[in-house]
């Protein structure tokens, strides 16, 4: 009796463990960043299995990579791509398999973090701005104060601040008129002070994805969000509006890369090509709300599903908008300082 039970167990392990003679593609990306049907259609078209794992932040993704997890395709942000290239963790793309890259917006290519797009191609892009409830926040306040409205005590207890050390320091540095890529410890200290004051006087709530549904419900009046989240929130709650301060902001590009530990290289390249297919890119962009880097899709959706939604069409050529650059010393400083601010 026991022997039968044991053998059933053994068989079931073996069956669940080796369920595949099919190739398995492992993708590591952000949460809620893809239309799930797209995954199934890719699997069908390529007769494979896709394991789609999600991370909350670039830093969390990087730490997971450190601890022996091997993925094929990753979707890090610009500065993280730069870091991964520097640390030799990426494999160059096989552009011969990615014909769809011809449809990408040229303004998003050949950026400093990957000058020839040897390793990366854009997946989604956008900027960071202020989401505010038009019923409770005057447009004058927002436009005149810009980022400093996050320190305006009139809105104490009513703000969400994104829990990301990068974006937190970006906001502080821009509010103070500095560059987000500064390496000056003096300027970084000033930003640290700015954030400390905010934490002490405004009782902000530091959150990430949970901001989205909360803002749709109108639980707070102002939030610092990514343009894509803003586009989604506005589509669900018309009282909300999006404003990008004149002080400048961060222009970000989340890119698809292939890890140098990748096992399914051809499939990985095919996946990237698939994501850039206008049909698929449109499905993703419509579902997630983030701006698509595929020119035809971007143009189409700006006029249809996201017409009038300024969060879908972030400005590209504003001189004070910067793309993050990776610097190891700076990263260490702001990581530690952000922790201290949160722990206050």
């Amino acid at each position: 009796m026991k022997k039968i039970g044991f053998s059933i167990l053994l068989v079931s392990i073996m069956m669940s463990g080796c369920q595949t003679s099919k190739p398995t593609l492992k993708v590591f990306s952000w949460g809620a960043y893809i239309d799930d049907n797209v995954i199934s259609s890719f699997e069908e078209e390529n007769d494979c299995i896709v394991i789609y794992d999600m991370f909350e932040s670039n830093e969390a993704m990087y730490t997971k990579l450190l601890s022996q997890e091997s993925y094929d395709v990753l979707v890090p942000s610009d500065y993280m791509v730069q870091r991964l290239i520097q640390e030799d963790l990426l494999r160059p793309l096989d552009h011969s398999l990615i014909s769809n890259e011809a449809g990408l917006m040229s303004g998003l290519l050949k950026k400093e973090f990957d000058p020839n797009n040897t390793y990366s191609l854009p997946y989604f892009w956008g900027n960071v701005g202020l989401m505010y409830n038009t019923k409770n926040v005057s447009e004058d306040d927002i436009t005149s104060e810009g980022w400093n409205i996050l320190k305006d005590t009139e809105y104490k207890g009513k703000i969400y601040f994104y829990d990301s050390e990068r974006d937190a320091f970006m906001v502080a540095l821009k509010a103070l008129g500095y560059s987000t890529n500064t390496t000056s410890t003096f300027q970084l200290d000033k930003a640290f002070e700015w954030l400390k004051v905010l934490d002490n006087t405004m009782a902000p709530v530091y959150a990430a994805d949970d901001i989205i549904d909360n803002m749709i419900q109108g639980n707070k009046d102002i939030a610092m969000v990514y343009s894509g989240d803003a586009a989604y929130i506005i589509s669900q709650n018309p009282d909300m509006a999006y404003y990008v301060p004149e002080q400048g902001t961060n222009l970000w590009i989340d890119s698809m890369v292939i890890s140098n530990k990748a096992k399914e290289i051809t499939l990985a390249n095919k996946w990237i090509n698939y994501m850039l297919d206008p049909e698929i890119a449109r499905l993703n962009s419509e579902y997630v709300g983030y701006s698509s880097p595929v020119q035809t899709v971007f143009t189409e959706l700006s006029q249809t599903s996201f017409a009038g939604n300024n969060a879908y069409t972030p400005r590209i050529d504003y001189v004070l908008d910067e793309v993050f650059k990776y610097d190891e010393t700076v990263k260490r400083i702001i990581a530690e300082q952000w922790l201290k601010i949160k722990a206050q």
Binding site: E59, T63, G157, V205, A208, Q217, N219, K340, A343
Partner: protein
Amino acid sequence: MKVFANLAKPYMVWMTLFIVIPMLLIVLFAFTTHGNSVLAFKFTLANFGKFFDPVFLKVMLKSMEVAIITTLLCILIGYPIAYVIANVKEQWQTLLMLLITIPMWINMLVRTYAWISILSDSGLINSFLAYLHMGPIKMMYTDFAVILGMVYNFLPFMILSIYTALAKMDKAVINASYDLGANGTQTFLRIIFPLSLPGVISGITLVFLPAVSTFIIPKFLGGGQYMLIGNLIENQFITVGEWNFGSAISLIMAMIIMGSMYLTRRMDKDIVEQAQSAHGGAKW
């Protein structure tokens, strides 16, 4: 019986590999620096030094504070409940204890998650208040929410511990006390309560330990800015990747907890001795 003693040997090897070595690794990482692989290290006390920054010490203190408040609340609420249940008719006791313990079996994440939609600014409670034309109360992301979440999750453990101690109590001693002329209050204070203390102590152990080290409850109900020691450790290991600092913090926390557990056990022994002498005294 040598033959049977050998049965333990495989586990002893297993134990060394999977219980002892991980602990040693934590100690190793705590005292070394950089290189997240075992072979690239040098010894240092810097990780501990980093912890003695006022900001981090505050986190430790806050965690202790929250855990102590939670434990006290659990005792204050749990004891009367356990007492009442222990004194009703026996078939009711089984049913009531069952009702109390069912929530314990439900996943902690699910139970904590349930409170988000109740406490949020446009959640169930505030919607109800709005219906009564009363202003919204800010409950989410506060101490109140986190402590509420903790008490909610850990109260059943306290009730269970105290109830077990009360139910096992020798009724004859209690009756003897009444026979000797003591009234209800005296009997409670001098017989029942002392004899139930082991249950209280074990309840404290079951509540304090997870309360001080949890990171889920503060994360769900307190927001990113509510940093307890568990959040700090999780942050260091999962987001920041500073495993050395993270190990140092874990070591410090483990030491503090083991210290308090040791003290509690000492108290337990003393109290049990006192209770036993009270017991002996009452029985002439």
